[in-house]
């Protein structure tokens, strides 16, 4: 069943020659148009300019507020509980939380997505199963992130998954931890990684595969040695897109990360303890500090939002550069 296409790379392709409007045919002066068409022309221009205006307004406003309220001290001190805004500390833990969650999400999503794409493109038998898997990925792409978060809560509060988070003394499984949130974040990044890998694989001409088979290599060996290295750039783009989505997601964090101000490890095993523990990320910190959460600290919210925006813009730039590099090499 063909469903809406996920725009994995539709807008990442940079400006490619030939691009742009055809030069206007001679004699096509605006004065010769009907008034309806002139109106439409104006509307198009108005929409385009409004787009630039809105973007500029958002960037400039966030920039001004961010520079106003962000200082180096905030970036490196930990958040503290407190009643008044100036006692609530900095945003170091949310930044660390964002980084950790992104890493966990990508580490799960990229291998899963690439494997699924490889199976779908190179094997894909039986055909109904392949179509079902493709539809499943489209469904995951279309699912709201709050539903994915709620599903994560249902799964991770099962007793069988208790070691992945914290069990309260009364026997209730807490179900919220970095592992839980990371697993659900990987679902959010999965369609992007899958789409990018699949596009890369389908772009490889079949004569490469056939040449390898003619030399006696098995299919799996061809995949491992020839195809996978070629789609490295695609997978990197997909991973960067996925990271962008993970960094910007709030619903999964609010539901599944336990909402503690500082990163609190669970148990004493060094890395595993932090993974099983709770914390916050930049997005949940902004949400809680804004007038909609429980914190009531708009200045800290602006500072954290500014840092968040910078991270997302840098990731976008990376996607841009990787994509442009790829196009130039082709």
């Amino acid at each position: 069943m063909a469903t809406a296409t996920t725009p994995t790379t539709s807008f990442e392709a940079p400006l490619v020659e030939p691009f742009g409007p055809r030069p206007a045919p001679r004699g096509d002066r605006l004065r010769s148009w009907r008034w309806r068409h002139r109106l439409a022309f104006l509307v198009c221009w108005a929409c385009g300019l409004a787009l630039c205006g809105v973007t500029a307004a958002i960037v400039i406003y966030m920039g001004v507020r961010g520079i106003q309220y962000l200082n180096l001290d905030l970036l490196f001190s930990r958040p503290q509980p407190g009643l008044a805004q100036h006692t609530t500390g900095g945003i170091l833990d949310p930044i660390a939380g964002t980084v950790m969650l992104t890493i966990i999400g990508i580490v799960i999503a990229v291998p899963l997505g690439v494997t699924t794409a490889v199976w779908l493109v190179e094997y894909g038998r039986p055909a109904p199963l392949a179509r079902a898997v493709e539809s499943a990925i489209e469904m995951i792409a279309g699912t709201p992130d709050i539903v994915i978060a709620i599903f994560g809560l249902a799964i991770f509060q099962l007793p069988i998954l208790a070691p992945l988070s914290f069990t309260a003394s009364g026997g209730g499984v807490f179900g919220r931890s970095f592992l839980a949130a990371g697993a659900m974040m990987s679902l959010i990044a999965l369609p992007l990684a899958f789409g990018a890998a699949r596009e890369g694989l389908m772009a490889i001409p079949s004569h490469m595969r056939e040449a390898s088979w003619a030399l006696g290599k098995t299919r799996i060996c061809t995949i491992r040695t020839i195809l996978l290295p070629q789609i490295r750039a695609n997978v990197a783009t997909g991973a960067a897109l996925g990271m962008g989505r993970i960094v910007g997601d709030t619903a999964v964090v609010v539901v599944l990360l336990g909402a503690t101000l500082q990163i609190e490890a669970q148990g004493d095993v060094p890395v595993l303890g932090t993974l099983r523990g709770t914390g916050s990320t930049l997005t949940s910190y902004v949400y809680n500090a804004s007038p909609a959460g429980e914190g009531n600290a708009p200045q800290k919210a602006y500072a954290a939002a500014f840092v968040l925006l910078m991270i997302v813009l840098v990731l976008n730039l990376v996607v841009d550069l990787v994509g442009r590099g790829r196009k130039e090499r082709r």
């Binding site: 063909a2 469903t3 809406a4 296409t5 725009p7 539709s10 807008f11 400006l15 742009g20 409007p21 055809r22 096509d28 148009w33 068409h37 929409c47 385009g48 787009l51 630039c52 973007t55 958002i58 406003y61 699924t116 199976w119 779908l120 094997y123 079902a132 898997v133 499943a136 990925i137 469904m139 995951i140 699912t143 709201p144 709050i146 539903v147 709620i150 599903f151 799964i155 098995t218 299919r219 995949i223 960094v247 910007g248 709030t250 619903a251 539901v255 997005t283 902004v286 949400y287 804004s290 007038p291 909609a292 919210a301 602006y302 939002a305 968040l308 925006l309 997302v312 813009l313 990731l315």
Partner: protein
């Protein structure tokens, strides 16, 4: 026991191993629908599905009462009439997608056809940037800038007084929600439509010009018509995004389970609402109470079914275009 170098996988082994991993993905979706449906069942069964969707009473109070009902609630504790939330969702999603679609098509035509090169170099990254901004930042700007502006300057004291016996107006509400949601979903639509317009063979539009059409006519009657499948796809995608937007809307839509009354005239757009996804986020703190848990999962089930219906609807809407030879 040494066994010599590891044997490489045979193709058959590789096929089923990779296939097993791919089936994990399928399993995830099946589990998701299953878990959500099972947990939503008590609430839907206690209320009756049709009644649960309908109006009746103050949904905020009903949700609030659920918190106090303890661990083993009787059927009466699940009482909920979710219509105000559904109405809020339909209102924000519907209007945002329609307005956003119009805006996107015109913007896409601008980017592809009318923009001078330098301006295009500014607009294209601008759209990409808008698409990348996290939703919580949209919500922050909405609640710290737009809502106070609307509350202090657009809502006059008379207007507040006119509805003061029914609801309180404070700036957050339908208008701010629709404006911010439109800005959030437009970049996605622009990306898809621009791609589709660029993929139209130039010969088609040149043919139109040869027959005497001006640039706008050629664009509108040929390119946009040919890009209709993409426009439908863009609308479906934007609809899915708007339905699922929880955090930004919970910050700016007023946080009241209230059904705005069209009979109020212009005041209608200032009245507060709360869409389904936002209700889920706001009630997640209390989710340990079984009645609340079941209701929240019922909202999730509704959202899941809507996403599915959207995909099917999009496919069905594109079927007649297939007959015209357009590539879907």
């Amino acid at each position: 026991m040494p066994r010599g170098p590891r044997q490489p996988w045979t193709d058959r082994q590789a096929a089923w191993r990779l296939g097993a991993v791919a089936c994990l993905v399928l399993l995830v979706i099946v589990l998701m629908v299953g878990f959500v449906a099972v947990r939503a069942w008590p609430a839907l069964q206690a209320n009756g599905f049709v009644h649960w969707l309908g109006p009746g009473g103050d949904v905020d109070r009903q949700l609030g009462d659920m918190i106090k009902t303890g661990q083993d609630p009787p059927d009466a504790a699940y009482h909920l009439r979710a219509w105000p939330l559904i109405y809020g969702t339909l209102l924000t999603t519907g209007v945002s997608v329609v307005v956003g679609l119009a805006f996107s098509v015109f913007s896409a035509i601008f980017i592809v056809e009318f923009a001078p090169d330098r301006l295009r170099g500014a607009v294209v990254p601008a759209v990409r940037l808008l698409a990348a901004v996290p939703s919580v930042i949209y919500g922050l700007i909405g609640i710290l800038v737009l809502a106070p502006f609307v509350g202090n300057h657009l809502i006059s004291l008379d207007r507040k007084a006119s509805v003061q016996n029914v609801v309180q107006l404070d700036g957050t509400g339908v208008l701010v929600a629709i404006v911010v949601l439109t800005v959030m979903i437009t970049p996605i639509m622009i990306a898809i439509v621009v791609d589709a317009l660029r993929a139209i063979p130039p010969a088609w539009t040149e043919g139109a010009s040869a027959l005497g059409a001006n640039r706008w006519e050629a664009m509108w009657t040929v390119s946009v018509r040919a890009a209709r499948p993409a426009i439908v796809a863009a609308a479906v995608l934007a609809c899915a995004r708007a339905l699922g937007e929880a955090v930004a809307l919970s910050m700016i839509s007023g946080s009241r389970g209230f059904s705005p009354n069209p009979a109020d005239g212009i005041t209608y757009i200032f009245e507060p609402i709360r869409p389904l996804a936002a209700s889920m986020v706001e009630n997640v703190d209390a989710i340990n109470a079984p009645a609340v848990k079941s209701s929240v999962y019922a909202f999730a089930l509704l959202l899941l079914l809507s996403s599915l219906a959207l995909s099917v609807g999009g496919y069905v809407a594109k079927l007649p275009m297939r007959r015209q030879g357009l590539r879907i």
